[in-house]
């Protein structure tokens, strides 16, 4: 990147991947016909999985609560359509591991019969707590991809200075936020006002990358009556990352290891704002989302409104199927998305796109040794040293990588993208973060088992001691008895004499 970019973007580093958004941007959002079966996982969010509250065989209505949130960080799950729960068991998860996750299988009955919904005619009269309670009940999570429960974010961020609405969508191929802003700008602005009310934000800024002029136009038109600002941001990856959008729009950088709340900022995605509006105005829980189906191997790419739980296969078929064999399937964007191998995986709340990429598009090359060109250092939006971190991780020195700031890595993939040696840098970082988390878990477990072992040896010692005391007492009692008996015998003998 040039000095010019750096000066005007307000962001450190960043890359300019080819957008490829024109594949799917021109066409409007189409609704997907109702599939036969839906696979609704219990865990579609960061935090604890939801707990099922309906039984297998039960008929559920569209929007009915089927699993409740568990613990503080969690989100409930609702039935995406009416039908019968035919199974609750393992189904392949939308995750690169391909591991199973507990999932409801819902056989749709095609009636689309809604459950009774709690609507609200004047949502601006609601208390802030009430808004976040309704958002929580609707099972809304961050739709930008992080899937953090939104209500919790609202609750933790009350009294924020600035509310930023993220319309960055910097990942190539993805146009779902672009389309939703073009087509549903009024509802989004309504949702933004509700979020602003819930956190009592003093300032509301909507940031949209300047490669989406139609979306900016639509949002500006819808926001004319309100005080919110719609700002065009330079198009650069990873502009849509929370930390980066804050840096660009407010000029402030979140301290290492900190959260946006530390500098008085709250960030929500545009699609989340839409979901909030639907939940508050019409009582509709989050049961569908806009998904971009794109990639060189898709016959007619576009944006689809799909129910949560729809198998990826159905969306690909709807988009005309494959024009050529896909070399790689990705859920999400090409930079940070999850590589999947099975098209039976369901669309979940956080799935922004389904990409079927051709061999040309993934451009996989063998990695060669690092030449220390520092292209990754220039590209890193967080200002880290990816080459050194990767070298430490390769040398099994994870703590050395942490010292270099591994924990602040946002895994955006900019470094891997620019690396001329094709070193899978971000793969190293993901591995290291996972390994550190595993070590942390085993350390916690070890501490717990150590306490157990100590408690056990203490207990054994105590039992031992008590037994010894008891023995001593019994011995003393027996001795006393014997003595008494002897004395009595002596007395009797005396009396007899």
């Amino acid at each position: 990147m040039t000095l010019f970019d750096r000066f005007f973007s307000g962001m450190r580093g960043g890359v300019h991947p080819e957008g490829r958004k024109d594949l799917s941007a021109a066409r409007g959002i189409r609704a997907l016909p109702l599939p036969q079966k839906l696979f609704v996982p219990l865990q579609q969010h960061i935090g604890a999985p939801a707990i099922p509250v309906v039984n297998v065989g039960e008929r559920v209505l569209k929007g009915q609560l089927i699993a409740v949130a568990q613990g503080n960080v969690s989100a409930p799950v609702h039935a995406p359509t009416s039908g019968i729960i035919v199974a609750l068991g393992d189904h392949v998860a939308p995750h690169p591991s391909g591991l199973p996750v507990p999932t409801f299988t819902l056989a749709c009955d095609g009636l689309e019969e809604w459950a009774e919904l709690q609507t609200c005619d004047d949502p601006f009269a609601l208390e802030a707590e009430d808004i976040s309670a309704r958002v929580a009940a609707a099972g809304i999570v961050g739709l930008g991809g992080a899937t953090f429960p939104s209500a919790l974010k609202l609750k933790l961020s009350r009294g924020m200075q600035t509310l930023i609405i993220n319309g960055g969508e910097c990942e190539p191929y993805l146009t779902c936020d672009d389309r939703i802003m073009r087509e549903r700008a009024t509802a989004i602005v309504d949702g933004i006002s509700l979020i602003a009310q819930a956190v009592a934000a003093k300032e509301v800024v909507v940031g949209i990358e300047d490669n989406k002029p139609e979306a900016i136009e639509a949002m500006r038109g819808a926001a004319r009556a309100s005080s919110m600002k719609v700002v065009a941001m330079p198009s650069m990856y990873p502009m849509g990352s929370e930390k980066q959008i804050i840096q660009v729009l407010t000029g402030q950088e979140i301290p290492a290891g900190g959260r946006p709340a530390d500098i008085g900022v709250l960030v929500h995605n545009v699609a989340t704002a839409f979901a909030v509006q639907q939940a508050i105005r019409y009582g509709r829980p989050l049961i569908s989302r806009i998904v971009t189906v794109s990639g060189g191997a898709i016959k007619s790419p576009g944006n689809v409104e799909a129910l949560v739980g729809t198998p990826v296969r159905e969306l690909i078929d709807f988009a005309g199927g494959y024009s050529q064999p896909a070399a790689r399937m990705v859920l999400g964007g090409p930079m940070m998305g999850q590589h999947i191998t099975n098209t039976n995986v369901p669309v979940v709340k956080g799935s922004s796109g389904i990409l079927a990429l051709t061999p040309d598009e993934i451009g996989q090359d063998e990695a060669s040794p690092c030449i220390r060109c520092a292209a990754c250092v220039r590209a890193c939006p967080v200002g880290l040293l990816p080459l050194d971190m990767a070298a430490h991780i390769r040398g099994s020195d994870l703590s050395g990588a942490v010292d270099l700031g591994l924990k602040d890595c946002i895994a955006c993939g900019s470094c891997s993208y620019v690396c001329p040696a094709h070193i899978p840098l971000v793969h190293f970082f993901n591995y290291a973060k996972g390994d550190l988390a595993a070590q942390e878990r085993s350390k916690l477990k070890q501490e717990a088992t150590k306490k157990l072992a100590e408690a056990r040896s203490e207990r054994i010692a105590r039992v031992e001691r008590e037994r010894a005391e008891m023995m001593a007492k019994r011995k003393a009692a027996r001795a006393a008895k014997e003595r008494a008996a002897k004395e009595a015998a002596a007395k009797a003998a005396e009396e007899a004499v």
Partner: protein, 191 residues
């Protein structure tokens, strides 16, 4: 004052014990894997070297020369050095068990660190006064610590580099030490 500064600079950089005079290479290669160990070694050697130069100067000028038994110089010097090292070892063990563990066998081996004996003998050879000797010893120790830290930094980075199998480990260490030595030879112009 400037004379003292020049003396320290001269002994630490221009006539560096390790890289120019090639004394004390054993801990230089042995304890240069981790920064903590290298720093501890540097400080322990600094203490021993400074103290031993002072002690050996006294020994030479107050005992060996008056009695005319200079032929016992090496024996006497080794005796004082060994005692100083023993004392250092006890002190480190008491005050920093972690460092004691890290330094391991290299701690008692300071006794046989040729830099210590070498500096003491050079002082006699060059007929230095007491203060001069002390500074000479301290400057050499500073130079030793400096190159220990430099070399350890390099080796820490080396351990992460993709070194060809034939060079991995000690060989690349020696190559780097040679290059570092070449670099220090460049200070010769300063003198």
């Amino acid at each position: 004052m400037s004379e003292i500064f020049l003396l320290l600079l001269g002994t630490a950089l221009v006539n560096n014990v390790v890289l120019v005079k090639f004394l004390g290479l054993c801990p230089f290669m042995g304890v240069s894997r981790k920064m903590d160990g290298a720093l501890g070694m540097g400080m322990a050697t600094t203490f021993v070297l400074t103290f031993a130069t002072a002690a050996s100067w006294m020994l030479e000028h107050w005992l060996l020369q008056p009695l005319g038994i200079q032929y016992l110089r090496i024996l006497g010097f080794i005796l004082t050095i060994a005692a100083t090292v023993q004392f250092t070892e006890m002190a480190i063990r008491k005050f920093s068990p972690g460092l004691y563990q890290v330094l391991g066998i290299y701690l008692p081996l300071i006794t046989t660190n040729c830099a210590v004996l070498g500096v003491a003998l050079l002082n006699v050879q060059e007929k230095n006064g007491f203060l001069h000797s002390l500074l000479y010893g301290f400057g050499s120790a500073l130079g030793f610590t400096l190159v220990m830290l430099l070399f350890t930094g390099l080796r820490v980075r080396l351990s992460l580099a993709q070194v060809p199998a034939a060079f991995a480990g000690a060989p690349i260490g020696f190559v780097v030490a040679g290059l570092l030595s070449l670099a220090f030879m460049g200070f010769a112009g300063l003198a």
